[in-house]
């Protein structure tokens, strides 16, 4: 009996997937709500298989009306043939996203049948020390943007004794935390969201492995409120995982006891900064903390804390399942393994591309992305979120890896790639970068709090044609102060988009225009 697959991912739902699923069910079909394959321009991408785990064929941009008009029809303009043979998908190397789009995200049997728990079982058969070593050997680095080696962070936490919560007696000294940063606030990034909606058990498995490796008893996922579907799916997954014995006391019959809860954010971008996130998790204003002490030594409630991005933790199960060596064989230089790139903005074929580090921005933008959605010439690409640099369209031969992007004046950030066509005004984008910093600065340090306000004013003066040379120099000076003097990446990296726009697109700052909000 044939089975239909209609994604439950928020992006697919935003294009009408629920109505499509309803229409199929109304026809008496068996419908599985899978994650999204990540070919988002095709959503809703509906698939059909002759049996539950059989090969699938698909139809793109399906509407309820198309279902009523008689899908399946291999002659239909919607028909895309065998889904896994689509070049966009076939050219990827999926480790983290292995199951996303394939399985029902909340079906534990489906998860295990497609390789779930293999990493955790291997880890539990190893000493904690050996697990830390495997993560170190894999070369895995933080996917939140900073790129700190995960193994070194884990080693630091593993070496600490458990601590009581601040204010509790030493007798309560039993805590270490795994805090997952799911505050994916960067525009142009959605890989954390799609993983949590498409394979939430993978994240929980990674957290359990981390807990075993460092001796943690509790896990928290700090998940932004803008992602209601991810919150609901992950919460359901936590309940199921407890029933399955994948979380809680004696995980999979081992000595490991570890449980996970979600903490929902409250609309603050800066809370994606790890120390601001800790403050928020402790119930306070999301004000950045000075380091040291490192969170690995004195983190949440004063206890040793692993803070990793969703993709970092979600990389771990496949590393433990397939081996650190196989992982480290991918990528190049000091950027090993796979990265989940996200193609966004004015793009014809936007979505998820998981592949080894080292692919060029041009391959992502042109081969995968198919250029702009508008069909107009590409003008600029912003890589790495609101704090990442803009690259002009002729600079896209840069390799997508940590160090090469830094050398090119950019940063990989969380792997988001946002395209802009030739209608963009780069002075307006520079102004937005400063204005965003005004909105989202925590206010703790002066260069960020005041500098961003002055930055907006100065860009407005330049755009209005007032003392352009002097104000441009002032803007550069201000950017220097923010870069050198800010406490965290919010103020420290806001100059990236501003200066990259100014340096590569000076003509946009020249013509006097009326500033817009």
């Amino acid at each position: 009996m044939s089975v239909w697959f209609v994604p439950r991912d928020a992006a697919a739902r935003s294009m009408g997937a629920d109505a499509v699923a309803d229409a199929l069910e109304a026809r008496g079909e068996t419908v599985v709500r899978n994650g999204s394959r990540g070919m988002l321009w095709m959503e809703p991408l509906v698939e059909r298989a002759d049996e539950r785990h059989g090969p699938r064929v698909g139809w793109r941009n399906v509407t309820a009306a198309a279902v009523e008009a008689g899908l399946p029809d291999a002659q239909s303009a919607h028909y895309v043939g065998a889904v896994e043979a689509i070049e966009y998908l076939a050219r990827q190397n999926r480790w983290i996203y292995e199951r996303v789009g394939v399985t029902d995200p909340l079906d534990p049997e489906d998860f295990v049948a497609h390789g779930g728990l293999a990493g955790l079982k291997n880890a539990l058969a190893m000493s904690a020390d050996a697990v830390v070593q495997a993560v170190t050997d894999s070369g895995l680095r933080g996917r939140g943007g900073a790129g700190f080696p995960a193994g070194i962070k884990w080693r630091t936490v593993a070496d600490q004794a458990p601590q009581p919560h601040a204010g509790e007696s030493q007798a309560a000294a039993r805590h270490k935390y795994i805090c997952v940063n799911a505050d994916e606030g960067d525009s142009g990034t959605f890989a954390d969201r799609m993983l949590m909606e498409g394979d939430p058990f993978c994240l929980l498995e990674g957290m359990a492995i981390a807990a075993h490796a460092v001796g943690a008893d509790r896990g928290l996922v700090y998940l932004r409120s803008e992602y209601p579907d991810a919150i609901a799916t992950l919460q359901a997954a936590i309940w199921i995982a407890r029933e399955q014995g994948w979380l809680g006391e004696g995980i999979l019959g081992s000595e490991l006891s570890f449980d996970v809860e979600i903490r929902v954010g409250a609309g603050s971008y800066v809370c994606g900064e790890e120390t601001a996130m800790l403050e928020s998790l402790e119930g306070r204003r999301g004000m950045v903390r000075a380091k040291p002490p490192l969170p690995a030594i004195k983190g949440l409630f004063g206890t040793p804390t692993v803070i990793n991005n969703v993709l970092t933790i979600a990389s771990v199960p496949s590393i433990l399942a397939r081996g650190a060596e196989a992982y480290a064989a991918l990528g190049q230089n000091r950027s090993l393994g796979t990265q989940v790139f996200q193609l966004a903005g004015n793009i014809a074929q936007g979505g998820i591309v998981e592949t080894a580090f080292g692919i060029t921005a041009r391959e992502l933008v042109e081969d995968f992305g198919g250029g702009t959605r508008s069909g107009r010439p590409l003008r600029a690409v912003q890589i790495g979120g609101p704090l990442g640099a803009y690259l002009s369209a002729d600079k896209l031969d840069v390799a997508m890896e940590y160090e090469a992007l830094i050398a090119a004046g950019g940063m990989i950030g969380h792997g988001g790639v946002v395209l802009f066509d030739d209608t963009v005004n780069m002075a307006e984008q520079a102004r937005f970068a400063m204005d965003f910093c005004v909105e989202e600065s925590c206010g703790k340090c002066t260069p960020c709090r005041i500098g961003a306000v002055r930055g907006v004013e100065t860009i407005d003066k330049i755009r209005a044609g007032k003392d352009v040379a002097a104000n441009t120099e002032l803007l550069r000076d201000l950017c220097d102060v923010m870069t050198q003097g800010s406490l965290c990446a919010m103020g420290g990296l806001t100059p990236n988009p501003v200066l990259s726009a100014l340096n590569q697109f000076p003509e946009d700052f020249e013509s006097p225009v009326i500033a817009t909000g």
């Binding site: 992006a11 525009s187 142009g188 409250a266 119930g283 996200q342």
Partner: protein, 163 residues
């Protein structure tokens, strides 16, 4: 509609919501504020004092947390809140123009404006390959335009009346 969707402020109910959080959590203030808002739709000023007392911190501490977070509101939400993504990926596909068009429509249609409130910009809904993105009463829209926004508002208004 949201006036019917959320109960009116009731201090004893709020205390009952807060008490288990304070008992169980090490850093309860933000969780208490979120619990009050999800129940009543906003955080009335009376709740600030109540939370301060329950958590044994000053009213100023609670007020400081309350004012830091963009999500927390001091007045009930509009019946069908419409929020347009104001971040870069949506700017790249006409997000600014959509905002201008929507604002103009709301200015000429006071009934619509009363229903949806003034758009408070939201920075990224994670739908960056299918922008412009918008959130209409909790429903995520991709490739949003004025017509799709109006349809979504109409859907939400109808389902709200049924509540």
């Amino acid at each position: 509609m949201s006036s019917a969707r959320y109960p009116t402020w009731h201090a004893e109910t709020a205390e009952a919501l807060i008490a288990p959080i304070v008992a169980a959590e090490a850093g309860p203030v933000l969780l208490c504020l979120q619990a009050v808002q999800s129940h009543f739709g906003y955080v009335p000023s009376d709740a600030v004092g109540l939370i301060a007392e329950a958590c044994n911190v000053s009213r100023a501490d609670v007020h400081g947390v309350f004012t830091f977070y963009a999500d927390l509101r001091d007045a009930p939400p509009p019946a069908v809140p419409v929020r347009l993504c104001a971040a870069e990926a949506c700017q790249a596909v006409g997000g600014r123009q959509l905002k201008a068009d929507w604002t103009a429509l709301c200015q000429s249609d006071t009934a619509l404006a009363g229903l949806t409130g003034i758009d408070e910009p939201i920075f990224c809904l994670g739908n960056c390959a299918l922008g412009p993105a918008a959130l209409v009463d909790g429903e995520l829209l991709g490739c949003a335009d004025v017509a799709r926004l109006q349809d979504a508002v109409a859907r939400a208004s109808v389902s709200g009346e049924g509540v």
